[in-house]
């Protein structure tokens, strides 16, 4: 949410008549999403008689979002607003990788492995990580989850890799 410092490089990309880059880009992105939704629902049936087809409501909301996105863009052009925020890459990247790793590993490798692996990958997301404590906490958390989900909550989760229990 914090505004970018004045030397933000993104500033130069946009023409000078854009006074609020944050809203400008935000509005354009919303319009793109709306256009995508309109395209995706274009093959659905529309109104027949008084009754709605499957595609009526999605198209209605799509058009509405398109208009609102345009509105936000116009506001971005006309009114003084915050610059584009600076995105960090480290946090988002490693958190996403951790999530992805979990999703890929959970079926073949079971929960214990996936939880530990994604804990360690997520920990890469900050430079402050100290590996010794991270490994200890990760192991404790994995053990806790291995007890909580299957036993206390009764959810059927596979614990160990498939090739071990077969």
């Amino acid at each position: 949410m914090s505004d970018a410092p004045s030397h933000a490089p993104e500033k130069s990309i946009l023409p000078s008549w854009v006074k609020g880059p944050q809203d400008f880009i935000g509005g354009i992105a919303l319009m793109a999403i709306a256009a995508f939704a309109l395209w995706a629902s274009s093959d659905l049936q529309g109104m027949h008689g008084f009754s709605f087809g499957a595609g009526t409501a999605p198209r209605m909301f799509g058009v509405l979002l398109l208009a609102l996105g345009a509105g936000v863009t116009v506001v971005g052009v006309l009114t003084e607003g915050p610059r584009l925020a600076v995105y960090a890459w480290r946090g988002p990247l490693f958190v996403s990788l951790a999530i992805l790793c979990f999703a890929l590993c959970i079926r073949p490798m079971g929960m214990v492995f996936s939880a530990m692996a994604s804990f360690l990958i997520a920990a890469l997301g900050t430079a402050e990580t100290q590996w010794k404590e991270t490994i200890i906490v990760g192991a404790c958390l994995t053990a806790f989850c291995a007890l909580l989900f299957p036993y206390a909550l009764g959810l059927p989760l596979q614990m160990w890799p498939t090739f071990l229990i077969r």
């Binding site: 999605p58 979002l65 936000v72 480290r90 999530i99 999703a103 804990f119």
Partner: protein, 521 residues
């Protein structure tokens, strides 16, 4: 009146229900367990535990803990979730009094005076007043829900599809007007949410919409998935780039002397009363809820005070009023959910998600068909509040220790916990990936100053709105004026239009922003 007592009686008997528990290791011996009370207690405790963690808001807490309630019977699950909700809120205020970064938006104002009090060595009384105020507000709100529940349900049963649609429009407009930031952007977020809710198969024709032949999307985007992505993952990523270890101004001295003095009690009693009234009203309004209630209560106290300069320097009223208001609002926001089936804010939207997973369609029918569910929940609210008061004050020491857990250890744990939670909903790895995508989307939204809460609200209301719109138009034979010719629907629409115009008027907009900004200056 008689109805009221018999209803509450039913509620309390549901809460105090005993279940025979016969674990195999006891060898056939069975122990009677007050299962619902235990769930309420666990919910309140776990909610506080997570809510205390700095940087994790109420919505994120509830979203994160949703999956642990899925295995329970519906009544127990909802009681536990309600407990988690109050717990999270209470935890948030503890954080904001003891550390200067509040755990959730609703307690930003509490931090102003609460933290000052803590610095002056009066953390104990501040925490105690927050708890007492919340408890008082909770009691009043519980009675209010019980009183208003039945008549509002009767009203709701008279609603046709046109009225329902108009009511939802009104609710969404309220959500926009009472939200922080740009009105236009909040509306855009609602519509985005509505659009997202269209993904999946159409209720009437069964046609697959915008699902690109991905089997996991055929049923629509999972509600828990989106909520955890937008609030759980997105908040983690956002906190990470703020540099998780930003100066956490933790109060160092030991919290001693919990009891407030007589003078404290005398000073805060009227503030608690006013906060409760204001919070109860704002909570019932769709779109209202804890955040706006605490801001408004703080502003009111400051305006009414004979010496407003004390505010921001550790005035006990500045803690008492917003804390009572946000707890009152948190509870009265159950009223529209339980009676009309319309969630007034994002946390209630999560409750709808939970109810749907248990096969309950929220609405007036629930109160008639499953009275023990509704009244059990209402009764559990009061018990939950009592528990919070009893548990939390002695446990303050533990919460303080939790506040010292460094973020570098906390966030990977949350990532893993959320991933397992999402996976366990449907045993679908794809859901975890989707939640990750929504996490990135949420991060982008935050960066562009779009609020994710209205999006979630739109997503929950989407299917309901579409259904009622379709039915209303079918009944009126395609005549769209039906929304403006039926008196009840027309008045709801008129109020919505009026509110929207008001919100866009520059004079009022300034006033609205003032309420939010005041606390920051």
């Amino acid at each position: 009146m008689g109805d009221l007592f018999s209803n509450l009686g039913l509620g309390f008997s549901t809460v105090f229900q005993f279940v025979q528990w016969a674990p195999p290791f006891l060898g056939g011996l069975s122990i009677p367990l007050p299962i619902n009370i235990l769930l309420c207690l666990i919910g309140a405790l776990v909610g506080t535990l997570v809510g205390v963690l700095p940087g994790i808001g109420t919505i994120a807490t509830v979203a994160m803990l949703l999956p642990i309630t899925f295995g329970l019977p519906p009544v127990g699950a909802l009681i536990m979730l309600a407990g988690i909700y109050y717990g999270a809120q209470y935890g948030g205020s503890t954080t904001s009094i003891l550390v200067n970064i509040p755990g959730e938006a609703g307690s930003v104002v509490t931090a102003l005076d609460g933290f000052q009090m803590a610095k002056q060595g009066r953390a104990g009384p501040a925490l105690a007043i927050a708890a007492i105020g919340s408890f008082f507000a909770g009691c009043v709100a519980t009675v209010l829900i019980a009183v208003l529940g039945a008549p509002l349900t009767k009203l709701a049963l008279a609603f046709g599809p046109a009225e329902y649609f108009s009511l939802m429009v009104l609710g969404l407009i309220f959500a926009v007007v009472l939200a922080k930031g740009s009105v236009l952007k909040a509306i855009a977020m609602i519509v985005f949410g509505l659009l997202l809710s269209m993904v999946g198969s159409d209720i009437e024709t069964g046609a697959s919409r915008m699902s690109f032949n991905i089997p996991e999307l055929a049923d629509g985007l999972g509600f828990a998935t989106v909520a955890m992505g937008l609030f759980g993952f997105a908040e983690i990523i956002r906190n990470l780039d703020a540099g998780g270890e930003e100066d956490r101004d933790l109060v160092q001295q030991k919290v001693t002397g919990l009891m407030p003095t007589k003078k404290d009690l005398k000073d805060s009693a009227p503030a608690i009363l006013r906060g409760t009234v204001l919070g109860s009203i704002l909570g019932i309004l769709p779109g209202g809820g804890a955040v706006i209630a605490s801001f408004a209560a703080y502003t009111l106290e400051k305006k009414l005070s004979r010496n407003p300069e004390r505010f921001g320097r550790g005035a006990i009223e500045g803690v008492a009023a917003p804390e009572s208001a946000n707890n009152a609002a948190a509870q009265t926001s159950f009223i529209p959910l339980l009676t009309l089936g319309i969630p007034p804010n994002a946390v209630m939207a999560l409750m709808v998600g939970a109810m749907t997973i248990h096969g309950i369609v929220p609405g007036p029918q629930v109160m008639q068909k499953q009275p023990e569910l509704v009244w059990g929940m209402i009764a559990s609210m009061w018990i939950g509040n009592l528990m919070l008061l009893v548990i939390n004050l002695p446990l303050v020491g533990i919460w303080v220790r939790l506040l010292r857990v460094p973020y570098r250890l906390m966030f990977p744990s949350i990532v893993v916990f959320c991933s397992i939670g999402i996976y366990s909903v449907n045993n679908a790895p794809m859901d975890v990936v989707l939640a990750g995508v929504f996490g990135l989307l949420g991060y982008w939204l935050i960066k562009h100053d779009f609020e994710p809460a209205p999006l979630l609200l739109g997503m929950v209301l989407g299917p309901l709105m579409e259904e009622n719109l379709r039915r209303a138009l079918l009944i009126s034979r395609g005549d769209a004026t039906v929304f403006f010719t039926r008196p009840l629907s027309a008045s709801l629409m008129a109020i919505s239009a009026f509110l929207l115009v008001l919100a866009l008027l520059p004079a009022l907009r300034k006033k609205r922003d003032e309420v939010f900004v005041e606390s920051e200056s």
